[in-house]
């Protein structure tokens, strides 16, 4: 059992608040990802959980017990650092066994535990090497191994994959997910990469400027972003935004004016009235090329990725990104018409909040574990 509660956490660095009152509940065995642009406070928040940074106000509780005053070593956590932070003067084995050595665990037992962790990560042949003789991926695994040896209740990962090349990153992503199943531990993971967040998280915490923008499952964040920031941050390429005028609104939907005719978006229109200006948001993958579509644009750039093609369109002073299938034959400077399914569109008020969709997306509450054929069944 390991749960974590953050109650109104505040961090103040010499008068500037970098964490402005964060509340969070992490369930046992949950994989939680903190995501946000650099400087949003996600790393600071993790370091506060780790005990490497003191908490200005608010309460951090592990399994219901306040740990604000507990030193980092005694919180029962283990952390994997972005730089791996391996001890350069120690062998892989000594690196992994350092915490046990400090805890005065007898040598034989220490070795046994290190070997067990090394087995999980296929590190056995490397145990006698020094970190400088390892590749990036191997160092990464040693850092994870060092965390496993401590048998922590919660694993903390601070952007652990950012120093790896793209191929290795994909591989480690899968390996981490496998580890999560295998170790059955609570994990908290910090990243600025929304793809890592989407692929690994049970629960994503989107942070900006020290404030939690939204907490939810990956699919919930994708389909029901709470505000314009989350909508723009999750998804790639970024969501298209367009200022639109409201023609009429009621609880069943909102009519907005588009260049090629009006369009009814099925969101709760309470409090919105005709003449208001809203921001319409549509993901590039939800735009469809259509000769009869209400929107037009001139192609500026075409990026052909093979399977899909991204079209960068310009219309007046608005710009659109449209993801079409890979066989689009258009050329640069072509004029194209396109449309979208209003059910996929989002509307944001002037202060950035999304108007709630009338129907919830069927996958929004899916459990991540259902995506994998894994050991979830034998877990408990």
């Amino acid at each position: 059992m390991a749960t974590l509660q953050l109650n109104n956490i505040v961090k103040d660095f010499g008068g500037t608040q970098v964490i402005k009152g964060v509340d969070l509940e992490v369930k046992d065995r949950e994989f939680v990802v903190f995501v946000g642009p650099s400087g949003c406070g996600k790393s600071t928040l993790m370091r506060m959980i780790a005990g490497l940074e003191s908490t200005t106000s608010g309460e951090i509780a592990i399994d219901g017990q306040r740990v604000n005053e507990v030193g980092p070593a005694d919180r029962g956590l283990a952390m994997v650092f972005q730089s791996y932070a391996l001890y350069p003067h120690m062998t892989v084995e000594d690196n992994m066994g350092f915490s046990l050595r400090l805890a005065k665990v007898p040598k034989a037992e220490r070795r046994e535990k290190v070997l067990a962790a090394a087995r999980i990560l296929q590190l056995e042949p490397l145990l006698d090497r020094k970190p400088r003789a390892l590749s990036g991926g191997q160092r990464q695994r040693v850092a994870i191994g060092r965390a496993i040896v401590r048998n922590p209740s919660i694993f903390l990962f601070d952007e652990p994959l950012s120093n790896l090349d793209a191929a290795l990153r994909v591989q480690m992503r899968i390996e981490l997910a496998r580890l999560h199943e295998e170790l059955d531990a609570t994990m908290i993971y910090v990243t600025h990469d929304q793809i890592e967040a989407m692929t690994m998280a049970d629960k994503i915490v989107v942070l900006q400027d020290g404030v939690v923008e939204q907490i939810g499952s990956p699919m919930e964040l994708y389909h029901h972003p709470r505000n314009r920031f989350v909508a723009g941050f999750i998804g790639s390429p970024k969501m298209n935004f367009l200022e639109v005028e409201v023609r009429g609104a009621d609880a069943e939907g909102v009519d907005v004016a588009l260049p090629g005719g009006d369009c009814r978006v099925p969101v709760a229109g309470d409090g919105v009235s005709a003449g208001d200006t809203l921001t319409l948001g549509i993901r590039p993958e939800h735009l469809v090329l259509d000769e009869a579509g209400p929107l037009t644009g001139r192609i500026q750039v075409i990026e052909r990725l093979g399977g899909v093609t991204s079209l960068y369109l310009e219309h007046g002073d608005s710009e659109w990104i449209l993801v079409a299938d890979g066989n689009v034959a258009h050329r640069v400077h072509d004029e194209v018409r396109f449309t979208f399914d209003p059910a996929c569109a989002h509307l944001f008020t002037a202060d950035g909040l999304a108007l709630a969709h009338l129907t919830r997306h069927p996958l929004a509450d899916i459990d991540r574990k259902e995506n994998r054929a894994s050991s979830a069944s034998d877990g408990r």
Binding site: A50, G51, A78, F81, Y84, A85, L102
Partner: protein, 273 residues
């Protein structure tokens, strides 16, 4: 011969010529140490002679030479050890727990180095007289420790700064207290840096002449004072002076050659790397 080769040969000649001229006084001193007193003052200077260890024997035979040498060793190594003990925690806190005041503190430490010794000679002399520290190993050790403390803190600070903070934090997560963190992680990782810092401090103390000449007379006088005592009866004991000088500078020259790279950082307070 191709032009690059010619250029390289010319460069070699020029650079070696200058190096030998600059090094000549030291070379000549070492050479003179192996001459008899007669050969030492001979004109024209004798380049080819039968080397003798007579000068060295005579120097070593003077009981007080060993006393001076011992004073130098005790004082320079003692002051270095003290300086390191005081400086390591200070440099640790400045490198790993920086606050808004850290920068100010470092610069202030540098500024204490700017106080010319001659400006405070009188009070230090009188204080030492009243405390019975004149002509004592302890007195000179304290002065050298204080004299080198800013440089030692600065140098350690620059070496500690090179250690990623993450490594120490990983240690903390692994359960290391501050003491264990320093003992198991910081010291092994920065040992070369600490060693060269220590050597620089030894070199500076060993060669220091102002305080040693003014605060000691006989009991605690180090080698600088011993060598200076050759200045009065002019021209009498050149071979012996050379032998004693060679002994006095040899270890320091070797230390200096070993640490020259890291020393630059310490001597320039990190402004040149």
């Amino acid at each position: 011969m191709n032009p690059t080769m010619t250029k390289k040969l010319l460069l070699t000649l020029l650079a070696w010529g200058i190096a030998l001229i600059v090094f000549f006084p030291i070379f000549w001193m070492v050479l003179t140490g192996f001459k008899t007193e007669g050969e030492a003052v001979a004109t024209p200077p004798s380049l080819f002679f039968e080397p003798t260890l007579a000068g060295y024997h005579e120097v070593m035979a003077r009981a007080d030479y060993l006393k001076f040498a011992l004073n130098s060793i005790v004082i320079s190594f003692g002051s270095t050890l003290l300086a390191l003990i005081v400086a390591i925690p200070s440099a640790y806190s400045m490198a790993f727990l920086p606050t808004k005041r850290t920068r100010g503190t470092l610069l202030w430490m540098l500024s204490t180095k700017m106080l010319p010794p001659v400006g405070v000679l009188m009070p230090v002399y009188l204080l030492f007289r009243d405390m019975g520290l004149l002509d004592s190993q302890l007195g000179l050790t304290i002065v050298y420790m204080l004299m080198n403390l800013p440089i030692v803190v600065w140098m350690l600070y620059t070496f500690f700064k090179d250690i990623p903070k993450d490594i120490l934090e990983a240690g903390r997560m692994d359960g290391a207290g501050t003491l264990q963190e320093v003992l198991y992680l910081l010291l092994p990782l920065t040992l070369p840096g600490i060693a060269s810092t220590g050597l620089l401090s030894v070199i500076l103390s060993w060669n220091e002449a102002f305080w040693s000449l003014n605060l000691t007379t006989s009991d605690a006088a180090p080698l600088t004072a011993f060598i200076a005592s050759f200045s009065s009866p002019e021209g009498l004991f050149w071979a012996k002076l050379s032998a004693a000088s060679t002994l006095a500078i040899a270890p320091i020259l070797i230390f200096g050659w070993l640490t020259q790279k890291q020393m630059v950082r310490g001597l320039t307070f990190g402004a040149v790397k």
